[in-house]
Amino acid sequence: MQRIGVFVCWCGSNIAGTVDVQAVSDALRNEPGVVFSTNYQYMCSQAGQDIIIQAVKEHNLTGIVVCSCSPRMHEATFRKTAAAAGLNPYMVEIANIREQCSWVHKDMASGTEKAIILGKAAVAKVNLNAPLTPGETPVTKRALVIGGGIAGIQTALDIADAGFPVDIVEKNPTIGGKMAQLDKTFPTLDCAACILTPKMVDVAQNDNIRIFSYSEVEDIKGFVGNFDVKIRKKARFVKEDICTGCGLCTEKCPVRKVPNEFNLGMDNRRAIYIPFAQAVPKVATIDPDACNMLKSGKCGVCSKVCTAGAIDYKQQDEILDEKYGAIVVATGFNPISMDKFDEYAYNQSKDVITSLEFERLTNAAGPTQGKLLRPSDLKHPHTIVFVQCVGSRCASCAEKGKEYCSKICCMYTAKHAMLIRDKYPDTEVYVFYIDVRTPGKNFDEFYRRAVEEYGVKYIKGMVGKVVPEGDKLKVQASDLIAGKQLHIDADLVVLAAAIEPDKSARPLATMLTASMDTNDFFTEAHPKLRPVESPTAGVFLSGACQGPKDIPETVSQASAAAAKVIGLLVKDKLTGNPCVASANEMMCNGCSTCERVCPYGAITYIDKEFRMPDRTVATRRVAQVNPAVCQGCGACTVACMSGAMDLRGFMSSQIIAEVDAICK
């Protein structure tokens, strides 16, 4: 049996004005378990708290009920008071007789009656309270960043600058991501390489950062502060620490016709390659699908020319086991496939290209050395048609496009159009749009410049079809404002393809037990207030894996994620909220129902041996709640049919006791 003390606060006249506090403390004195009851002018004052502390000592109280203002106001205060008196802080319950009683009821009689009932409910609850101790878990002071694009780079640099070690896992041979493929960046038109490559070098030179390039995350176990991650370092058949990146091998390799993925297949690379000149790490990689030596054992040229002796045809994939305290997802995006958009003839003509291909075409390091030449015949195009929203805002056919707006296309198309008109003023540039969406600092000004200063022809309407005819592309489109159907003979058509999350995101989310939306974008813990955290504790989101983003937004989010990671890693220990779910193993069915409603992935199952009442040993599948991950919402407690799952601090029996006290 508990020994409960009841402390009724007057809150000056805030409570005492509408509630007869003496009557309340008198009535509650007769409740089961109550051994002491009093009232005082300001319970939260030092003098009030002293009354509580003294009563605890004098009456050997095991539980405290404070009838006062909202627990949202002073629950923490009274918990500290209890702790100061040597009680477990979770043996305190508050009856809210100010905000939810004296302030909303005018009549003394009904106010007092309700205050007594609320007090009784709190007493009934405390009778069933148990001391709770927050769990503590140590924090591994190292972060993992998955993805080495601008988002991952920025997050890693910020975390490393705060003094914590960071590992970047990048599936490609180099970091840099999509931004490395871009030519200029809006709205300032500085070149992507000029601002990105110094950051890549910073990453390479930072003592706190390790880069696992050409590597993938294979498995993730554990929880916030304590993740165990398996990383597969794929064999690149070149010893990373010996290769100097001189590039001689890539010139001598006899396999010349491997489509160059960095230039989106618009030119070729060798079987041994360095994706681009500023790659980090600047190390050659052998493509095992193309290399003659690896396929048939006949060649070995690269090994012969490599003076450093870095080539190792026998290299195997390597599995690394690493521990991390926090994980940042920065898996980025890709343009969607244009295969299903037959109307734009993407697969029929080399001169219908995506915007990302256009970036490579205008990039000085691209397949045309930056000259605007159309892919089919390397002639200068004179009429160029841009089509916006290709696959974006596409509600009718999920298999074709995406329902959301890809966000970045309006701005990069304006950029492309402007750059063409700047370099080649004799070129006619048409942009077909549904809406032009340019919120963002200096964004609309940028778009207007394309129209007003550079004479880009923006036409409200869509392209209906593109038909290759001779060396022209017959473009049929509508001009909705003029009410005309246009027929344009274009030399080049550029499609603003919708963007989608990288394919690696979905399996990664499964490993992380992080939630995703139907489009495979990672879900944030709160769409407004916790936008860079995943609902799974210790997992943070950076860049386009969470939703379409341009570079400035990506970098902001990357730094925000880093700040959150740093906030986690500076702690030596994580103190949990003790009001978490726990399963009574003897009653657990192991049915996985609770696991399905848990938004945090806090519930796992183990097969455990039990001694049964008939002295046999049975192996049963039972739920385990990780208290470091559980946030205490209680969804699982209702999903659980057998009632095995309960929530500490808000146990079913406690809530029922409150219900009974109120309905008595």
Partner: protein, 331 residues
Amino acid sequence: MQKINRDVLIDRAISLLNSGQVSSVLGWRQGEFFYDVTPAVFTDENDIRENFVWNDFCGANFSKYLVSKTKASDGKILVFLKPCDTYSFNQLLTEHRFDREKVYVIGIPCEGMVDTGKLKAQVGDGLVSAQSTEEGLLVTTLYSDEPVNVDIKSVLAERCINCKSKKHVAYDELLGDEGQIEDSDRFDEVARIEAMSPDERFAFWQGELSRCIRCNACRDVCPACTCEKCVFDNPVSGVENKAPVNSFEEKMFHIIRAFHVAGRCTDCGECSRVCPQNIPLHLLNRKFIKDINGFYGEYQAGECVGSRAPLVDYNLEDLEASDVFEGRDTQ
């Protein structure tokens, strides 16, 4: 009349048993009366030959027994499942309630089972035997000299008249012909009750549920009720009650039970079959199924293993609780 012959079942059971592929067989055995066919475990060839029953009274759904039998057995268990039983089988697998590897399922076709209550209502008490023939059910009773020929359709169980599926959704082997998912009118009765006035509904349910004697047969037979410890037996659950005090307690029991199996109930109808008071309990479960189908899209529990039940799922655009009654009568 069942299209598949008892001998086919027995031969298969014995050959699997003798070859050592299974160590026991879950089948039907005659109870006190010929019409009380009860589930039984067979491990012996002769026992099967003599006592294995397969006729129009084999209503029992064996899926639930697998939970305890697979734990108690080292070898594989052969189980005969009618189409509607396979749904319960899958639902239990979804909930990890037994080890699939320890079960060998033979799917058998079912032409519907007899409701003994209906039969007695037609021919009277004192049933002695019933012979299934092409023409119908030839029934003899203590009180009649001549056997009575009963049209089998007129004595089929309600769940069989409104059969939802003659297709097996799980099996290792099939005997006989595979059927189709049926177009059933199983929600008509629910709709009829919904169309009553609130007072009529209350009177209807009070009339039904006040007969409840809290024998727990519905719970004990239900393949969705396999909890290690039922909340109604658990003093800390807050809903424990062993015997009813007033009409609301029966309702509380039945509402909570229906809620616990909502989204998991395959509508096998065992609850109503075993109720000694003939309370149409399936109408509670079907109400939830009908609502779930109407509110959140068609969902058949047990149709496939691993599906996400409607109550552990959500849609951002789900209807609001206040809109549940939209388009229905006002009071």
